[in-house]
Each structure stands twice: as structure tokens, then as C-alpha cells.
């Protein structure tokens, strides 16, 4: 099996502009930043959450705490994986109790990652609200989960893959649509 790149969905500038817009939306819909906290889902949700927090700081001059969550131990497919995931640390240095949390991830697809992330969050306490923010929503949900903040909706087919590449992780910055070919 090979993967071929089909097209570029977003450039670095477009990613940046989209995150700026999302940050504005979050501030607007939350009536300020009080009690807000962002939780980046490992791995690419983490730099995205940090960038959104930075943008919110510039808009509102308020420091929004950012935590990171590794969902591996909460996955529902560990008994079927072809490769054993390497565990990463979660780092949430604040109490989630009564917080308005926003989970941040790069791609929303089946919804299973978000389901796992919520399980992880509720082991830490009882947030007041939990919302979801993603850079790309590609459809094909298998869980009753929707995002409150979406960078871009993309129609995809099942054999396509969205690859979000961020400079913090991938040393390049763009979103690609790739396809699996047999």
C-alpha cells in the first residue's frame, strides 16, 4: 500500500489566518476568557492549542491556561492496533473542576479520539463545559460528537487521509489531502 499526495488544502498562511479566526470566535462565544482553558490532544492538538492561546492573549490580554492530554490509554481500539502506541505524558497543571474547557485537535474524523479524550478529562475532575475545536472536520463520524469551532470543513472519501503538518512536529507547515492506493 502506498500513499500519494493529492492536493494541498491549506498553506501556512491559511492555517495561521484560520487559527486567528477561531481564536476570535472562542473569545466572542465565551463572553471573554474567564474560566476558559484549552486542552490540546497529543500530538498535533498541542501546538494548535498553544497557538490559539497566544492569539487569544493578543485579542483579550488574558492568559488562557493550556494543558495537554495523551489519549492512548483511553482508546477503544488498543486490542486491534497493528502497532503499539508509544505513551506520552499528559500535562494539565490546573484543576479542571468548573472550568470551561475547549479540547483542541487537528482533525475530526470518526469522533473516537474525542470520546477517548473526554473519558480522560473526567478522570481529572468535573469541568463545567467541554467544547471541541478542530482545524479540519472531514466528516464520517462514528460517534455523536460535533465541534463547536471548526477551521475548515472538508469533504473526503474513506480512502483519503488528511495530513496536518505543523512546524513544531513536522518541520513544515501545511495541510495535505493524501490518498491510499493499493
Amino acid at each position: 500500500m502506498r500513499v500519494v499526495e493529492k492536493s494541498q488544502l491549506m498553506s501556512a498562511t491559511e492555517i495561521d489566518r484560520t487559527l486567528q479566526r477561531v481564536a476570535h470566535e472562542i473569545v466572542e462565544k465565551s463572553g471573554g476568557s474567564l474560566n476558559l482553558a484549552l486542552i490540546g490532544i497529543r500530538r498535533r492538538g498541542v501546538p494548535l492549542a498553544q497557538r490559539i492561546a497566544q492569539a487569544m492573549r493578543e485579542i483579550d490580554r488574558v492568559e488562557v491556561p493550556v494543558g495537554t492530554l495523551d489519549i492512548t490509554l483511553y482508546r477503544d481500539d488498543l486490542s486491534k492496533v497493528a502497532a503499539q502506541p508509544v505513551l506520552q505524558s499528559s500535562d494539565i497543571a490546573f484543576s479542571v473542576d468548573d472550568k470551561d474547557l475547549i479540547l483542541v485537535d487537528d482533525v475530526l474524523y470518526t469522533g473516537r479520539t474525542v470520546r477517548a479524550a473526554m473519558n480522560g478529562l473526567f478522570d481529572l475532575g468535573r469541568p463545567r463545559t467541554v467544547r471541541l475545536c478542530v482545524l479540519i472536520d472531514r466528516g464520517h463520524r462514528e460517534m455523536p460528537i460535533e465541534a463547536s469551532f471548526v477551521g475548515r470543513m472538508v469533504q473526503t472519501s474513506d480512502n483519503e487521509i488528511i495530513e496536518v503538518r505543523l512546524r513544531e512536529v513536522d518541520q513544515e507547515e501545511r495541510v495535505m489531502l493524501v490518498e491510499r492506493v493499493e
Binding site: 500530538r43 489519549i71 470518526t110
Partner: protein
């Protein structure tokens, strides 16, 4: 996992996380029988993978469903309280069930062979067996006869790998490294599987050892048990043993051994008890570890056991984390899964 994205996580560049060092190499382990056969890199991986489980010990809710539906057989052919409870807690926190076999209640006393006992246990279909036995090599023997993973929880005077891992993790947490330390081990080294596993583990990281205790427990062969390049010296003088130590591992004095040959307990206390005064000869802030059960007033002065340099309770907490890590690595994913993948690439 959605088959549509199965390709994404196979890519090499997805293996490394942003907080992980770039050269993290994932490993798979079929069994954990001892520290001796492991490489330093494998040990480093095991210690790193324990960290997420340490965090879970601090959560208000500590129960995961990661191993839901799995069962872990705890086959303890030798009395044990803390190691067994630690493994049982680890299994329970991962959502697995523990099947308990205790020597007192087992058929062993009725004459059943070890192999028959473990075959019977295996027929109840556990996903993993954690075993302790008073014969060195027992876990290895069982592993050769069963298909499921075997974790050695102590075999005779051979190894106690999970103890060495939790000790290393505890030291690394306190002083940020395990490389090149001066480690003093105090007590009955000859009969101690804890000492052996610790020497194998820390020795692979360039630690040097001073073994200290009554001469009858310090045979010359001990100088040869470490990995190549690590120096092991023996002394029966505790003051000498404490000089320059970064960490002191105090072993329990097995009172049942006090009779062979006789060593009056009073004399042991006088010569070898770790007191505050003796500890002052070690490096400032030197760590004090004890695998437990600890007998205050015998091998260790209560003031040291409760003092700021003591890591005894951290060892217990870390023990649960290390054992969760081992169970997760050996039972959590299919036995034929390749090592290493991005945590979230598959099923967004």
C-alpha cells in the same frame, strides 16, 4: 480503528512525540523475566513509559478501562504481600481482573508440580501471568512452557525486575539521572534478588557499587555479577561503604537467615544499621531506598526511614506505576503488534 487511515500511523516520522526525545525507539516485550538480558535503551524506554502511569496515581479517579476484559493471573508460590498487592492494584487500575493463587491455598502442598499448577492456571485463560517462586529460574521455566506473557515477580535469589525498575524510576525522579552514580547496597546481598536486579539495571548505566554487610553475605563471586565495565567492591565496614554514596539501598534483614550461621541481631544493629550519623558520610542529600518490608530499628533507624532522604513511600507509589506500565505493554495491545505508532493518527 478506521481502515481508511491505517496507513498514516505506519510512517516512521509519526513515531516521535514533541516531548519525547527524538531518538525514542519503541520496544516490545514478550516476557519480563529479568533485567540482565535487557539493553540500557530498553530500560530507558520502560522508565519513560512509566511516567504516564505515575500521573494517573495523582488523579482523583485512578481507574482506567484500558485492559477491560483482560485477566492477570497472580501466581505467588512464595509469601508476598506488597508485590502481590502492587500488581493487583496495577491490574485493577487498568480495568483488568486479577486471579489470585497463593501458596498457602494452592495444590502445591498436595504435591502438584509447578508445571501442572501453571498449566491449570493457564487453562483458565488469563492474558498474562505474574509469578513469584522460591527457585531461581522458575519464571523462565514457565515462560518456556506457556504462550502468554510471564512477568517475573521474584525468583529465588535470581531477579526481581519490577523492583529494580521502580527503584531506578524513584532515583531518576529525585536526582534527574541514573547514570554514573555511586550506589551502596547494605545487608544480605548474597540472597537478595533485589540487589542482583538493581546491579544489572544501574550497572548498565555506568553506576558503581559498594556492597556492604557481614562477610558471610558477601562472597567474592558478587564482584563478577555486574555488566561489563561496572565496578563492584565489597566491604564489611559501613562507614567506608557510605563514603561518596549517591544512593543507599537498604535490604531487609531476613531474620530466618540469622541462624545460618548465627548472627546476633544486636550485633547486626550495632555494625550495620543505617543511622543518621552513618548516612552523613554519604553525599549530601544521598537517597535512601528500601524494597520493604522494612524493619525499623533493625536494618534502618526510624529517623532515617522517615527522614527527607528516604524514598520508601515513593518507591511504593512508583511500584504501582511500573507494574501498570508492564501490564499495559505486555497485555494492552495484540502480541503481534509492531512497536511504536502515533497515539492518535488512526481514528480521529
Amino acid at each position: 480503528m478506521n481502515p481508511a487511515t491505517a496507513g498514516a500511523h505506519m510512517r516512521e516520522d509519526l513515531v516521535v512525540g514533541e516531548s519525547a526525545p527524538r531518538d525514542v525507539v519503541p520496544h516490545r516485550f514478550r516476557h519480563l523475566l529479568g533485567i540482565e538480558p535487557l539493553t540500557a535503551e530498553q530500560i530507558q524506554f520502560l522508565l519513560d513509559q512509566s511516567k504516564p502511569f505515575q500521573e494517573i496515581q495523582r488523579h482523583p479517579l485512578k481507574k482506567l478501562a484500558t485492559l477491560r476484559g483482560k485477566s492477570v493471573a497472580l501466581a505467588f508460590f512464595e509469601p508476598s504481600t506488597r508485590t502481590r498487592i502492587s500488581f493487583a492494584t496495577a491490574a485493577s487500575r487498568l480495568g483488568a481482573d486479577a486471579m489470585n493463587l497463593q501458596a498457602e491455598a494452592s495444590s502445591l502442598k498436595k504435591g502438584e508440580s509447578l508445571l501442572d499448577t501453571v498449566h491449570t492456571l493457564d487453562a483458565m485463560k488469563p492474558d498474562c501471568i505474574v509469578m513469584r517462586h522460591n527457585s531461581s529460574g522458575a519464571a523462565d521455566f514457565v515462560a518456556r512452557h506457556l504462550e502468554i506473557p510471564v512477568i517475573n515477580a521474584g525468583d529465588g535469589t535470581h531477579e526481581h525486575p519490577s523492583q529494580a525498575l521502580l527503584d531506578a524510576l524513584t532515583i531518576r525522579d529525585r536526582i534527574d539521572k541514573i547514570e554514573g552514580l555511586n550506589v551502596t547496597i547494605l545487608g544480605d546481598i548474597q540472597h537478595s534478588r533485589v540487589a542482583r536486579s538493581n546491579i544489572h539495571l544501574l550497572g548498565k548505566f555506568g553506576c558503581n557499587f559498594t556492597l556492604c554487610g557481614p562477610a558471610m553475605w558477601l562472597p567474592r563471586e558478587l564482584e563478577q555479577i555486574g555488566p561489563p565495565g561496572c565496578t563492584i567492591r565489597r566491604t564489611s565496614r559501613i562507614d567506608e561503604a557510605m563514603e561518596g554514596a549517591d544512593a543507599v539501598i537498604v535490604l531487609r534483614v531476613q531474620q530466618e537467615r540469622m541462624n545460618e550461621p548465627a548472627l546476633p541481631m544486636g550485633e547486626y544493629i550495632l555494625l550495620y544499621q543505617l543511622t543518621e550519623e552513618r548516612l552523613r558520610r554519604a553525599r549530601p542529600g544521598a537517597l535512601v531506598l528500601h524494597p520493604g518490608p522494612m524493619i525499623r530499628g533493625l536494618e534502618i533507624d526510624p529517623a532515617v526511614a522517615d527522614g527527607p532522604q528516604s524514598c520508601v513511600l515513593e518507591q511504593v507509589t512508583n511500584g504501582v506505576a511500573v507494574r501498570m506500565m508492564l501490564l499495559y505493554l505486555m497485555v494492552g495491545t495484540p502480541a503481534d503488534a509492531a512497536p511504536g505508532a502515533d497515539a492518535t493518527a488512526e481514528s480521529k
